[in-house]
Symmetry: C2
Subunit: 363 residues, 2 copies
């Protein structure tokens, strides 16, 4: 146990120091009726001199803790950092402190993290791209104000903020078809659960891709490598696609990190981007904008998503019975140097490799 | 205020449900002497049926909250994600929950975030690369068990975990000098505060660079661009260095993100890497390992740093009066494709640019 020297200052210390009763201190702290200006001054002086701060734990027992918990599934996904920036900017100079619960991989870990945040009496939760069941999310939202970001749905228990993933995929296909591509392939995150196939952004991007291919009369060209939204998933997905009898002239990767893996596989196969294969990512992360990569990518405004989530959450904390809102933002396409018309395949171009000393491997 | 339907289950509900006194429930919860096995079974059944969990806020008033706060200055620095992985892995299946306080830029914001964590009765803090004054850190550590990561020092109030930054810089100079380079320049993070010049990793890297240059008989070649540890800082620093009458044949960037900015400036200047200029980073982040970048970089084992920090913190929570420990880990150099001998400058090489259609700009 801590020794007295380490003990935190309490209301009792303040009362003793100010030579007033604890009730009087409590009144001043609560800004309650019946505390005279002289009493306020006396107590405030003691508070300042001792460096007393009312404990959030103690406040938690009486009401709010002014803590917003944000569950972030993967710290290495820079898009999530954008969302977080939007949340903290929106909360700005409010009394709310944002605390992140990191590292969720799968439903079990996610349940543990959510419980931990509820257990610490957080006033509200922002869950980014949760994988829990819909029932579970509804239960969480009934026990604490909750906003879900990056997962579609129409819950009456929690608000949601999403980007229109179907529209984003359509932008990609439209861009590539407009450049003259027909063999446009897609790398998706493998998904089988029926609810997730409805609600997860990755599933909606794959659906949007299929729909848009049909709209452009390219139904017979639909070709999907089903791996995962990771660098490795992109690498393996692109290897699959490049080994087809007729390889695609353009690859739409479902996320920037997937596109990076695809770029690596294409480079290893001795092919150039965009000369031999055009590549499009999704998220417009800092990596996509990074000069030597310069990836064409779909931009979801992460900051705006985060700001919307924070606004909805603060409103929900103030009124738990208001109707749930479902905000869907429109994506845009940022065209950079990894896409060009398929005709350019005729002209040999340098591989996207700073020191291209590798020989083509079995691609 | 929440309606009763949203109210969390309390010890009173458990007592009522089990038809025992709240004192009895409390005894069972505290595992105290005097609770019969029958009583334990009855209370446990009520706890299970109601889904009761003792509130962390309530626990906080009596003792531990089992919450570790980690202050992380920048979510976009992937090295910090490695440190965090090490912390969470080390805490593994303990009762401790890690919560991150994100986004500190400068002393004032840092003070606010640290206060917020103390205010929420966290059991211990891990401060990653804090910029606060030494006095301030000592005061924090006296009020809550604290481990400082990535900042040198020999405080008797808090434990530290660092990587040997002087040794890391020496590895870089040794590697480049060994390849035959003499004009080896450095991009540092600008620093003037005397304490920070002693304790911050960036300052120690710059010192290590100077020392190693002297040791290799290259004192007259010491050339430092003083910008910042950001992508932009690397870009501007490299532009400065490339505009020298005699431009460097090798650039040691103080961080990977700085090296990326430098690569961009070198590419814009129409120069190749490593043909015209070798580039070395620091951190061995995922970006450095990424194939098309393939950056030679100093590896600090972030996971091991995090694991050490978590171990020290748990020990400190258990015994606040133990001697402080200062763990310093040894870095290694990971050689990739951005470094080569200066002789190779004779042979023209492709620029590190996937679609190098840009013309050289004023470099």
């Amino acid at each position: 146990m801590p020794k007295p020297a380490h003990r935190r200052i309490t209301i009792v210390d303040v009362a003793r120091h100010a030579q007033v009763s604890t009730t009087a201190v409590s009144k001043v702290l609560r800004n309650a009726y019946g505390a005279s200006p002289a009493m306020r001054a006396k107590v405030q002086q003691a508070i300042d001199e001792l460096g007393y701060r009312p404990s959030a734990a103690a406040r938690g027992l009486r009401g709010q803790t002014y803590t917003i918990g944000v569950m972030i599934p993967e710290l290495r996904n820079l898009f999530f950092a954008d969302i977080l920036d939007g949340i903290t900017a929106q909360l700005g100079d409010t009394a709310y402190q944002v605390l992140l619960a990191p590292g969720c991989n799968g439903e079990k870990e996610e349940a543990r993290v959510i419980e931990a945040m509820i257990d610490r009496s957080m006033d509200g939760l922002v869950l980014i791209a949760p994988v829990s069941s819909r029932t579970r999310l509804n239960n969480v939202a009934r026990s604490v104000p909750t906003v879900v970001v990056g997962r579609h749905g129409s819950s009456t228990a929690y608000d949601t903020v999403t980007d229109d993933d179907v529209a984003g995929a359509a932008l990609v296909v439209e861009h590539l078809a407009g450049l003259g591509h027909r063999r446009i392939a897609h790398i998706e995150h493998h998904e089988t659960d029926p609810v997730r196939l409805l609600e997860m952004p990755n599933a909606q991007r794959a659906n949007g891709y299929r729909d848009a291919m049909r709209e452009h009369g390219l139904a017979d060209q639909i070709d999907i490598a089903s791996t995962s939204y990771t660098h490795q998933g992109g690498y393996l997905g692109a290897k699959q696609l490049l080994s087809r009898d007729q390889r695609p002239t353009a690859i739409f990767a479902g996320a920037d990190v997937v596109a990076l893996g695809a770029l690596e596989a294409i480079s290893e196969a001795g092919l150039s981007v965009p000369g031999d294969v055009s590549v499009v990512g999704y998220d417009n992360s800092a990596l996509a904008a990074f000069g030597p990569i310069s990836l064409t990518s779909v931009d979801q405004d992460g900051r705006q998503m985060g700001a919307n989530a924070a606004r909805l959450l603060v409103d929900r904390i103030a009124d738990r019975d208001r109707r749930t809102a479902h905000v869907k933002l429109s994506p845009t396409l940022v065209v950079r140097r990894t896409t060009a018309g398929p005709a350019r395949a005729a002209a040999p171009r340098p591989a996207p490799d700073p020191a291209a000393t590798r020989t083509p491997t079995d691609g």
